[in-house]
Symmetry: C2
Subunit: 608 residues, 2 copies
């Protein structure tokens, strides 16, 4: 479970591996292949046995893809990974390109020879992506070929085994709704739309729907399994029954869920096809292989957003109670960590890895920690300016006096997932640091205290978190926040705070609120709390159904970095009120009187 | 020129007209017809001879359409007109339906008989709309038929003549760029995209491109003419040369623009088609008739946003100087009007029409007024709660003590178009009125003082104008602002402040900023200034190219309605600074010392 800081640069192995792959392509009589980072479930994290892109190219980022042709190759990554990819891959063998400015599809159109054949593993490419590659090939007069097996698997001799850890039940007390009730809701939707069944392939949707949790992939207790849900409320779950705990098996049986061996999936889809069933798939997430199996066996296939997406995103009463409990629990190690940092760091002996290890150890002392919810971002000085920094043994920097330190971390507890960022000054900040920190804080506060009409989207609220930075000619280049699961993925869709987002914010959605400011090479700032969308009580004279955000996170914000002179009264009142709540809720949970005293001082009101 | 307040309810004429139309449809052997409010130019205002929808149905709104079938009919209007349409039409003859919830297309699909024929005048329906009706008919197994002539014109015996007023030159001093230079820019774009020509049909685009102004339609000095622009920078303008002033004709000749009789348009398009030319049309605005003529004669047609749209929206230096001068000029009658209202209204003898007439007379006294830029919205008490209220002799209300009065008006001057709303209290406001007014004002101020990164859209800034209302459980149901032309249309695209808007705000764009609050049956509030998007000077420490808004409008905001206790320091500073500028800029322009003294008092600083 503990975070691993090993530095795993494998660039020297790339040439032989790519040569072996090209030789396979020749045997298969194809001119190239698409190598996805995704596995067949298309989740953010994949098990070690599915890290094909990393194994082949050395690139270890959480998103990307490559196209290997006979004599040239390119790898496509987003803005987070443009620097990292150049460090990790062999630049003589492949060209790194940034998406969305460069798409793999347009590169294929330009580079595949006319009459050429581009292979792909239909289990690793979504229906929507496959359609785009189909178009790209046809524009070049080439052909897209779905391969029966993955040529990388054939040459990957030290490939780790497929994960097969036990799958446990998520107790009803935390899930808040039985699997049978969830299935009934989905079945009603299918019936209304005249569909016989839908196929679910997202691992957190499967975990949510069947009230199961796994441990096959780091940080996300999802269940790596496909499922078919029918319009009568019954379901097939393709998961080795031997891996499922007995009480979970009993609960599934009662909910009319049939556990079937994963290898029976194709057969089940073919049976739907033979019956001429209308089957719904979410084309954005489902693998092309399933689509083809259904089509070839005679099913009518239509695109529909996964019916789990909105019910999973809008947390029920038990899930929200769990989230509150998890955040209060997590606030204890956070407060202990901040005090430890405050008292230890000035001596100048700490480094980024020590800090991340200490925080994990303190979380572990709660006795309730199931996992971290992602690899801790522990960034000192210039590393704080890298939003997705991941410390390694070679990058590890000391936490120095008068420098910024940023820690973005989270925990998985059985009742909830946390995600919090705090930015700390060790010693004295510069006036510029205080100004920037306070502008980020103003944005975080203004989004936290927003009231907004029912029907508002995350995109519409996003500028509230930015306008204080804009006033000073500043901004940040990432979204303001993402959805968060209930003891599931820390990045859970569909809602977001970002300019283009069109998802309506609905009561029960949990979201992060994390504006930032990054000065490359010097320092970075981010402040992150989690929020829940709530229905507002009407105010006197109010006319419309409004929503507000309940704050879940209760951890002090570094007062040494706050410049009250540039805050409005309402903003300062919010901050003082927040700190008062932190002290009141968290101090009684700290056993050590010195921790308590530190917390109360850290939460003292700020006057002008 | 003066605004006409006649009440023109013609509902009693509708039955005979619809019966006559249905009899025509029978002769033509078609089952129904689409009746558009639009003319062949698709502008917001149409000349009297093109008011077919109004003539047929009695509905006088500025947007809408009807579908008349053999035995049933429906009329489709947006939320602004749902009450008005019920007053104006004969409800026994047609059903009023609201768009976008109900579309004419889905109504057609449900109601046209299988095998039926739906006629339409392809000059009055855009390419995009025609495509949607095509789909709607084919889904019902019916057929869409383009008619050779409009059956309404055949039965409209007292139809007004087509307008044919003189067309004058817009002097270079105000236009800021010669027509030849504008044409060169468009020709370069056509060449880059490999197109031979584009067809322009938007009347304000034509007026802008050729530096011409007309007076055929009320309030907008556009030119009702089509044009073809070619990739060599030459153009054909289909406009009777006899109507064009001599110096304008000379300037057009020098710019390589050929005046051709309007009836030669079809022939010119056919010539492009015969030559196999690639021709660009803006499918959102161009009439289907032109599209068909080009296609049938062999042209390759592609959709491209009108090449005039962005150059016209981003005003040049001369246009901005003109806008500033026009607004300072317009501020004089506005100040005189507000003083007149302040001193005369308390006696209780004024009404909505008198107020609108007085304001127009004062504007006329500038000696520079060319036209109003739209019919003045002059609303007392409950009428202020109707955002698009238009006073008539029958609706005319007195302006009473302790009641709100709202006036939204604008002027056309040769150097610029104005649009301003002020909300006034005659006597004493209630605490609720002050609270609501101040929240609207906070929104207006927060949008006015925004700084924002280059690349930001109007949609992204919209919530800044709403959050103070949201805090009190309130909102308003219209966009926050629209683009404004340069001595052209007061509603000019493409930029807007509204939730969904995706147009990037570019320096030189003029926009209205007009949040509001409406309490149906009681009172309404709107405060509107015009703004210009400007590039910001970098602030110390600023890192990104930022934009800001220059305010163009200089007219006091009613201090009696301001509640400083709920304003931030920054908001109150903005208001006091604004009022100081109004007094400084406008007082010296007032000839009457009593007007000056009133203005200075109206602009006195507000203290807490």
């Amino acid at each position: 479970m503990f975070q691993n800081f090993a530095n795993t640069n494998q660039r020297h192995l790339t040439p032989a591996r790519i040569a072996a792959l090209r030789s396979r392509l020749e045997t298969l009589q194809i001119d190239g292949i698409i190598v996805s980072r995704a596995d067949e479930f298309q989740g953010e994290y994949v098990p070690a046995c599915a890290e094909r892109l990393n194994w082949l190219t050395g690139f270890s980022g959480s998103a990307g893809s490559a196209v290997i042709l006979k004599s040239i190759a390119a790898i496509f990554v987003d803005g987070r990974y443009t620097l990292q990819v150049k460090d990790q891959i062999d630049l003589d063998l492949m060209t790194p390109l940034q998406i969305p400015e460069n798409s793999p599809q347009s590169w294929v159109t330009r580079n595949i020879p006319k009459g050429g054949k581009l292979g792909f593993d239909p289990w690793l490419v979504t229906i929507r992506e496959a359609g785009r590659f189909e178009t790209a090939c046809s524009e070049a007069g080439a052909e897209l070929i779905a391969l029966d097996s993955n040529p990388i698997d054939a040459i990957w001799d030290d490939r780790p085994p497929a994960p097969a850890r036990p799958v446990v039940q998520q107790p009803l007390q935390f899930a808040g709704m039985s699997s049978a009730d969830k299935l009934r809701g989905i079945a009603e939707g299918l019936s209304q739309r005249g569909a016989k069944a839908c196929v679910l392939t997202q691992t957190d949707a499967v975990a949510w729907l069947f009230n199961l949790r796994g441990s096959d992939i780091p940080h996300t207790p999802a269940v790596l399994a496909f499922a078919v849900v029918r319009d009568d409320g019954s379901a097939d779950l393709f998961l080795d029954a031997a891996r499922v705990e007995e009480d979970a098996r009993d609960a599934l049986r009662q909910a009319n869920v049939h556990l079937k061996p994963p290898q029976n999936m194709t057969e089940s889809l073919q049976a739907l096809g033979t019956a001429g069933a209308k089957v719904e798939l979410d084309f954005q997430w489902v693998a092309e292989a399933l689509h083809r199996t259904l089509l070839h066996s005679g099913a009518t296939v239509s695109h529909h957003e996964s019916p789990c997406t909105i019910p999973r995103a809008t947390k029920n009463h038990a899930e929200l109670e769990g989230a509150r409990a998890a955040h209060l629990r997590d606030a204890v190690p956070m407060a202990r960590f901040l005090r430890w940092l405050d008292t230890t760091a000035p001596a100048g002996k700490l480094d980024e890895i020590q800090a991340a290890r200490k925080l994990e150890a303190l979380r572990s002392e709660t006795g309730e920690l199931r996992d971290l919810s992602f690899d801790t971002i522990s960034g000192a000085g210039p590393h704080a300016a890298i939003p997705h920094y991941r410390v390694s043994e070679t990058s590890n920097l000391p936490i120095e006096k008068d420098r910024i330190y940023l820690v973005d971390s989270g925990a998985q507890y059985v009742d909830g997932t946390t995600d919090i960022t705090r930015t700390i000054i060790t010693g004295d900040p510069t006036p510029e640091m205080k100004d920037r920190f306070t502008r980020v804080l103003k944005g975080m506060i203004n989004l936290s205290r927003a009231r907004f009409p029912a029907g508002t989207t995350g995109g519409h609220l996003d500028p509230l978190a930015r306008s204080a930075l804009w006033e000073a000619g500043l901004d940040f280049d990432h979204g303001t926040g993402h959805g968060v699961g209930s003891y599931l993925s820390v990045h859970e869709g569909p809602q977001r705070f970002s300019k283009a987002d069109k998802t309506v914010l609905q009561p029960g959605m949990i979201m992060s609120n994390e504006p930032g400011y990054y000065k490359a090479g010097e320092y970075g700032i981010r402040i992150e709390n989690l929020l829940v969308v709530r229905e507002a009580e009407p105010v006197e004279g109010g006319e419309r159904p409004m929503h507000w955000f309940e704050t879940l996170t209760f951890t002090p914000i570094d007062r040494n970095l706050v410049e009250p002179a540039i805050m409005t009264d309402a903003e300062l009142d919010w901050l003082n009120d927040y700190h008062a709540k932190v002290a009141k809720k968290i101090a009684p949970r700290l056993e050590n009187p010195e921790d308590q005293a530190w917390l109360e001082a850290a939460c003292a009101p700020i006057n002008r």
